[in-house]
Each structure stands twice: as structure tokens, then as C-alpha cells.
């Protein structure tokens, strides 16, 4: 059962203080409009905010990608200069990794994870809001580097000493170091919050091995974040101190080790790869069984292979450094561990195929994207195994072969999976489906464009075309494939445009219509037991969980011959969202105010330390105001009755 904490009951004196929160202004009461969105602590709204912000950054990162491809379409391109090109590919990478894939995964995690485990909200609703606002502040801070004319140009990996003050004298890498530090805080806070949520807030009967695979993969990712983020935090601090306070962590003149950054970065960076891909694995593990009309094949294997990937992901980082001179023993060891990590990944691929095998396959748009992940990720996984062979990797390092590989896993694996999630859960979130016709066109354009863009990079890379170089000379045989890639990238752009049109068109079509009925996909996991779109209180009553895929088992049973038959309609099984007396956490200004302090400190470190003062005051003030503000406002416009679920146990969202 979930934790029952009733801190509000005994601390009456604390409540009295909260009536005048530091005398600044009164507490937000919720309601509608923008004020509701900026003060919300509802995990569903925060999920939508994450998704919207990440899609915004996705468009920025996409435009950067198209500019890169325009520059490389022909030899000796003149669209971008060398300097601008460096900024462009750096910001493309940083944006897509930290401001698109990670927050999109956070969007799904925030919205779905409490619903999948049968909770009213996450464990710490205000911390959840804080994560989002800090992420947004960090992302915007990073992108303002464009406005100040000096975007980061040292690659998303930011290798010091190259990014030190000697070789990167501009402010760009400061924006990088501080911006990633801020988004790192967001990831860390969110990860801790979701771990506590999963471990403590599950519905009665939902043991760990009755959780959906998506929830499992998100849990593994949060553990990876909790342990990986502090490592890049250290690296970024050291870089920042080197650049601004004269320390010598990356100064080889005084004997510093030029490999220190690479080790710290990749000890974070390789788990980060799994942080990017595992949410997508989770999404398609929900989509494929639903559209195959079969339970997931080998559920324990799916879970344990995800956990195994999480553990082994820590032991392979140096395969990013095979040519940096780490010595033959290290190379051999990391070669082997890299080959081993292909095993649990292969288990997952085989299990998805076995799930589809013999199923009644329905190729709706979510399923198309999910099968896209299985096939495209396999291509990326196979080229990954070729990197594990150190002699081959030596040949491939710094060529377009590498670029091909990581786009097959991150675009073909992570992003396509996220699109599967969009199409699958859109009715859950917004109460109407995205258009199937446009959706299928969206899928095929993205798939074809993707393969045209990144497929030929394998060839170009093996032919020796170097990555991170702003142009190439004619006569090396690079012309044809580069032109094909550029055309392919614009086909992807068209696919994304169709997606946006689809959002608009389907919303317009659904306007004035009643929301879609319960359970539109005949799905399996618990989030579908709530109405679509999800009501503010999630569950009318928290269900008792008896089986894996409990929701499906409420709809289907076996007849006397052991044949699976429908035993209840969706209307009978699903809740109608009519409960009114549910106790919910109150909205708060402080997460937003606290988050806004960080960019001040960031600009202060770059331009004038005086700016840190207002930033620091905002943060300190917010922390104290937050601490004295009870999570539930006694004067809030909700009923103050503690909701009793069917076990007679108080379900409560706790203090944060």
C-alpha cells in the first residue's frame, strides 16, 4: 500500500504561518488560464508542459539539423562558415539530447507513471513542478547563447582541454557548462521524485513484478540519472572553474591529464545513452502487445534485460575512447564488455518479435512507429557491435559511420518510439485520436527520410568522410550521398510538419465533439481504466491489482474450454471520473520562482557576479517559503476529506 503520511493534521501552527506565506502574496488557488499552468503541481499538466516545451526545442534542433545538411549538400558549401557550423552541430546535439529526447521521456513518465501504478500523483508534486521549470529555465538559458552571439562550439561532448579558456575563449562553452548544470538539476530532482513514487506509491496489490514494462524502464532510467548526473555535474564544475576561476584541471602545461574530462564525461555519457533509449523501449513494450492482441512475450526477461542494461551501461564507457591512447588492456576489456551489452538488448528485440509472432497484428500508426523502432534500432545495434571490435572502431572513429550509428539508435530507436507513444497515448491525454491517415503518412515520410539521411552515412564514413568538419572537397566521391542525405533530411522535416498539422487538424475535428470513449485501443495497462482525457484526480477509486495487465484481465477471461473470451465491456470496467471528494495537493508559485533564480546565477557567472545576488536571493527565499507552505492549502478550493480507497486506507500525497 502507498505510504500514509498525514503531516498536515498535527502541524496546526505551521498552517497558521502558511496563511501569510512570508507576507509576499497569497497562495494560488488553481482555476483556469495561464496562472493555473504556471502554478500547477498536477503530474498530468506537468507532463503536457514537458511535452510542449520539448517539441518547441525539437523544432529548434531540427532547424539546426537542416542548416547543417544544407551546408553539406554540396562540396565547399557556403551556407554556414566553419565557426557557425561548429556552433550549429554542437547546439544540435546538445538540444536533441538534453532538451528533446530526455524531456520527451520525462513528459511520458510524468503523465503515465502515476497512472500506471495507480497513484493520485507523484510523491512530491511541487518538486515535480520544480523539475519542469528548472529544465525550461536551463534550456532557454542555453539557447540565449545564440542571441548573445556566442553559442557553444565544442561538440555536445565538450572535450576539455579543447573547451578550456585557451582554445575556446568566447562565452559559448560557459553557456554549455552552466546550461547543462541547470538541466542536470532538473533531471536529478525529477529522477529522485519518480523513484520514490514507484517504490512507495503503488496501488494495493501492485507488486514490482506486476508493473507495466514502461514503468519498469522509466524506473531503471531514473536510477541511471541519479547516479550519472552527479558525474557530469563534477565534470562541468571542473570545466567552469578552469574557465572562470583559474583552476588547472584541464591544463596539460602544468601536468593535468587531458583524458580526465573524457573519462568523467563518458562515465556519465554512456549511461546517458541508455537514459535516452530505455523510455522508448518501455513505450513500444506497451504498444506492441496492445496491437498484437497478445501479452508481452517473456515479461520477466524484458524487465531483467532492462535492469541488466542499466547495470552493464556503467562498464562500457571507454569504448568511446578507443583511439585516445588508454592502452591495450583497457581497450580489450571495454571491447568485451561492449559486446556483452548487446545480449540483453538482443533479448528485448527477440521478445518484441515473439510478441508479434502469431498475434493478430493491427498496423495502426502507433504500431507502425513501434515496428519502426524494432527494425531501425536493430540496424543501429548491429553497427554498434562493429564499434565494439576495437580495430574496426579505430577505422570508424570520427567518421560519418559513427554519426550513422548514433542516429540509428537515437532517432530510429528513441525518437520513433516517442512518436509511437504520441499516437498511442494522445487519446488518453487529449480525449481524441490523432488522424490515422496523416499519421501513416507521417510515419512513412519519417522512416524513408530517416533512412535516406542516415543510411548513406555508413558508406560515407567507411569511405573516410570526417565528421565535425564544415565542408569537403569535390573529387572524393562524397557528392552523391551527401546530396541524398540532404534531400532525406528535408523529407524528415516534411514528416515532422505533417505531425504538427495532424495535431492541429485532429484538435479542430474533435472540437465540440464529446471525448473519445473509454479504452480506444483495447489496451492492457492500468492508465486506461481512467476516462479519456484523465480527470484531475486520476482514479475515482484506486483499484486493487491482482495480475500483471490487470486492466486487460478485467475485460477478458477464459470460458469452460479455456478459450479467451470477453467478459466485460470497456464501459463496465472503466471508471467514469465522477468522484468529487478527492483530496489533491495545492498549486504553488515557489517552484517557478525558485527555477527562475538559476538563469540569473548563470548570467551572473558569465557577465557580472552581481547578477548572482538576485538569483541567489530568489532561490533562498523560495526554499524557505516552500518549506513553510504546507503541501495542502487548508483554504484551498478542494474538499478536505481524506479519500478512502477500497481498502479503507487513506491515500495521500505526501509533503515535499
Amino acid at each position: 500500500m502507498t505510504q500514509t503520511i498525514e503531516p498536515q493534521v498535527e502541524s496546526t501552527s505551521e498552517d497558521e504561518i502558511a496563511h501569510q506565506p512570508l507576507g509576499v502574496y497569497t497562495r494560488p488557488k488553481g482555476g483556469n488560464g495561464w496562472r493555473d499552468w504556471v502554478t500547477t503541481v498536477d503530474h498530468k499538466k506537468i507532463g503536457i508542459l514537458y511535452g510542449a516545451a520539448a517539441l518547441f526545442f525539437f523544432l529548434i534542433g531540427g532547424i539546426e539539423a537542416l542548416l547543417i545538411r544544407l551546408q553539406l549538400a554540396t562540396p565547399n558549401g557556403t551556407v554556414l562558415g566553419a565557426d557557425m557550423y561548429n556552433q550549429m552541430f554542437t547546439m544540435h546535439g546538445v538540444t536533441m539530447v538534453f532538451l528533446v529526447i530526455m524531456p520527451l521521456a520525462a513528459a511520458f513518465a510524468n503523465y503515465l507513471l502515476p497512472l500506471q501504478i495507480g497513484a493520485r500523483d507523484v510523491a512530491f508534486p511541487r518538486l515535480n513542478a520544480l523539475s519542469f521549470w528548472v529544465f525550461l529555465a536551463g534550456g532557454l538559458f542555453l539557447n540565449t547563447a545564440w542571441i548573445f552571439g556566442d553559442a557553444p562550439d565544442g561538440g555536445w561532448f565538450g572535450y576539455a582541454p579543447n573547451t578550456g579558456i585557451v582554445f575556446s575563449p568566447g562565452n559559448g562553452m560557459d553557456f554549455y557548462a552552466i546550461g547543462l548544470q541547470i538541466t542536470g538539476i532538473a533531471s536529478l530532482v525529477s529522477a529522485m521524485n519518480l523513484i520514490v513514487t514507484v517504490l512507495n506509491m503503488r496501488a494495493p496489490g501492485m507488486t514490482l513484478f506486476k508493473m507495466p514494462v514502461f514503468t519498469w524502464m522509466i524506473l531503471v532510467v531514473q536510477f541511471l540519472l541519479v547516479f550519472a548526473v552527479p558525474v557530469i555535474t563534477v565534470a562541468l564544475f571542473l570545466l567552469l572553474f578552469d574557465r572562470n576561476f583559474g583552476s588547472n584541471f584541464f591544463n596539460p602545461v602544468l601536468g593535468a591529464d587531458p583524458l580526465l574530462w573524457q573519462h568523467l564525461f563518458w562515465i556519465f555519457g554512456h549511461p546517458e545513452v541508455y537514459i535516452l533509449i530505455l523510455p522508448s523501449f518501455g513505450i513500444i513494450s506497451e504498444v506492441i502487445p496492445t496491437f498484437s492482441r497478445k501479452p508481452i512475450f517473456g515479461y520477466p526477461f524484458m524487465v531483467f534485460s532492462g535492469i541488466a542494461i542499466g547495470f552493464m551501461g556503467w562498464g562500457v564507457w571507454a569504448h568511446h575512447m578507443f583511439v585516445s591512447g588508454i592502452g591495450p588492456i583497457s581497450v580489450a576489456a571495454f571491447s568485451l564488455s561492449t559486446m556483452f551489452i548487446a545480449v540483453p538488448t538482443g533479448v528485448k528485440i527477440l521478445n518484441w518479435m515473439a510478441t508479434m509472432w502469431g498475434g493478430k497484428l493491427l498496423f495502426n500508426t502507433p504500431m507502425l512507429f513501434a515496428t519502426g523502432v524494432v527494425s531501425m534500432f536493430t540496424v543501429g545495434g548491429l553497427s554498434g557491435v562493429t564499434h565494439a571490435v576495437a580495430p574496426a572502431d579505430t577505422q570508424q572513429t570520427d567518421t560519418y559511420y559513427i554519426v550513422a550509428h548514433f542516429h540509428y539508435v537515437i532517432f530510429g530507436g528513441a525518437l520513433l518510439g516517442i512518436f509511437a507513444g504520441f499516437y498511442f497515448w494522445w487519446p488518453k491525454v487529449f480525449g481524441h485520436k490523432l488522424g490515422e491517415k496523416l499519421g501513416k503518412l507521417n510515419f512513412w515520410l519519417m522512416l524513408i527520410g530517416f533512412n535516406l539521411t542516415f543510411g548513406p552515412m555508413h558508406i560515407l564514413g567507411l569511405q573516410g568522410m570526417s565528421r565535425r568538419i564544415h565542408s569537403y572537397s569535390p573529387g572524393f566521391g562524397f557528392e552523391l550521398w551527401n546530396m541524398v542525405e540532404t534531400i532525406g533530411s528535408f523529407i524528415i522535416g516534411l514528416g515532422v510538419l505533417l505531425f504538427l498539422i495532424n495535431i492541429y487538424a485532429s484538435a479542430k475535428k474533435a472540437k465540440g465533439q464529446p471525448p473519445i470513449g473509454p479504452d480506444p485501443w483495447d489496451a492492457r495497462s492500468l492508465e486506461w481504466i481512467t476516462p479519456n482525457p484523465t480527470p484531475i484526480h486520476n482514479f475515482d477509486e484506486v483499484p486493487n491489482i491482482e495480475e500483471l495487465d490487470d486492466f486487460w484481465h478485467r475485460k477478458y477471461g477464459k470460458d469452460e474450454n479455456g478459450k479467451i473470451v470477453r467478459i466485460a465491456s470497456a464501459e463496465e470496467v472503466c471508471q467514469d471520473g465522477s468522484a468529487t471528494d478527492v483530496h489533491l495537493p495545492s498549486p504553488s508559485y515557489w517552484p517557478l520562482v525558485l527555477a527562475l533564480g538559476f538563469p540569473f546565477i548563470g548570467y551572473g557567472l558569465i557577465y557580472s557576479l552581481w547578477l548572482c545576488v538576485p538569483g541567489g536571493i530568489m532561490i533562498l527565499m523560495s526554499i524557505y517559503a516552500w518549506a513553510f507552505e504546507p503541501p495542502d492549502d487548508p483554504e484551498g478550493n478542494h474538499d478536505d476529506h481524506h479519500e478512502e480507497n477500497n481498502d479503507g486506507v487513506t491515500q495521500e500525497v505526501s509533503v515535499d
Partner: protein, 196 residues
Amino acid sequence: MTDNEHSVGTGLSNNKLLMWVFLGSECLLFGGLISTYLIYRSRFADGPAPGDIFDIPFTSVSSFVLLMSSLTMVLSLSSLQRGDYRNTRLWLLTTALLGALFIGGQVYEFTTFLREGLGYSTSPFSSAFFTLTGFHGVHVSIGIVMLMSLYVSSMRGNLKRESSETLEIVGLYWHFVDVVWIFIFTVIYLVPSPTS
């Protein structure tokens, strides 16, 4: 709730579990800094070497002070759990003072090193030393601020016996910072350092 056969939580409160997860994350933060120091301890360029400059008896005393603050922290919690608010505050204040004494020792040590020619920019060793011990010092300082906040809260009658878990959670943080110091003290001072 405990008699619910379907019980699936960890049995820890959300707040306490959050602190444990956070401390797990902190291990990697200090792990990264300690590793960096270990790589750089013999790279002192033309500056002072660690073996020449460390004053082990002095640091041992300040380490002892910090360790004792863990004891007073426990005494404070146990007073609160017994409902003895006066002793709660007494031990809270003692803990904060011991922490401040440790920070004072660190400030003294830093200024001594500076006078002896070990600046932040002197060498990779000096940068790593000041960064690692500085990060620890900042953690202790944040702990002191939390202790004093609880002290004020108790003065105003808001730190009740029933909410002793708040104090316990701050205590978890405090003990963690102490344990980290045991590692740092061992790695930096007790393991024989290179001399010039």
C-alpha cells in the same frame, strides 16, 4: 496499513526515502571529486607538494570535532523523540557549533596554505585539493543552515515530537557529510602523500 496483506511500499516515508536516494546520488558527486584528487595528488608542478604542506595533527583534531557533531546530532534526535524540547535545541545548537568549528578550521587551513604558496591556480593538485575539500565544506555549511533553521523552528514551537522525522532526515544528511569526511580525511591526509 501495516496489516494490509497487499502492502507494496518500502515502509520508509517518502521524505526519508527521498533523502536516501539523494545521498546515493551524492556518493557519485564525491566519488568523482575524490577520483580527480587521486589522479592529481602527485601533479603539483612547481608548487608545494601535499606531503610538505599538510598538518595532519591539526586536521585530525578538526576531524574529531566533526565526528563528535554526529554524536550530538543523535542526542538531539533522541531528545526530540522523548519530547524533551530544551535538550533538543541544546544539542542542535551544539551540533551546529561543532560544524562551524570545523569550517573555521578549514578556513584557517586554507589561509595557511595560501600563505605557504598553495593557491587555487598553483597546480592540478592544488585545484583538486581545494575543490574537493571546498565542496565538502559547502555541504557542511548547508547542513549548519538546516540545523539553525530547525533551531529557529523549535524556538517558535514548530518542531514537535510527532514531526521528529524532519530532524531525523536532516540528521541523515549530517551523518552522510561526516562519513564522506572520513573518506576524504583518509584519502587526502592519512594515505602517505608525495613530497617534492
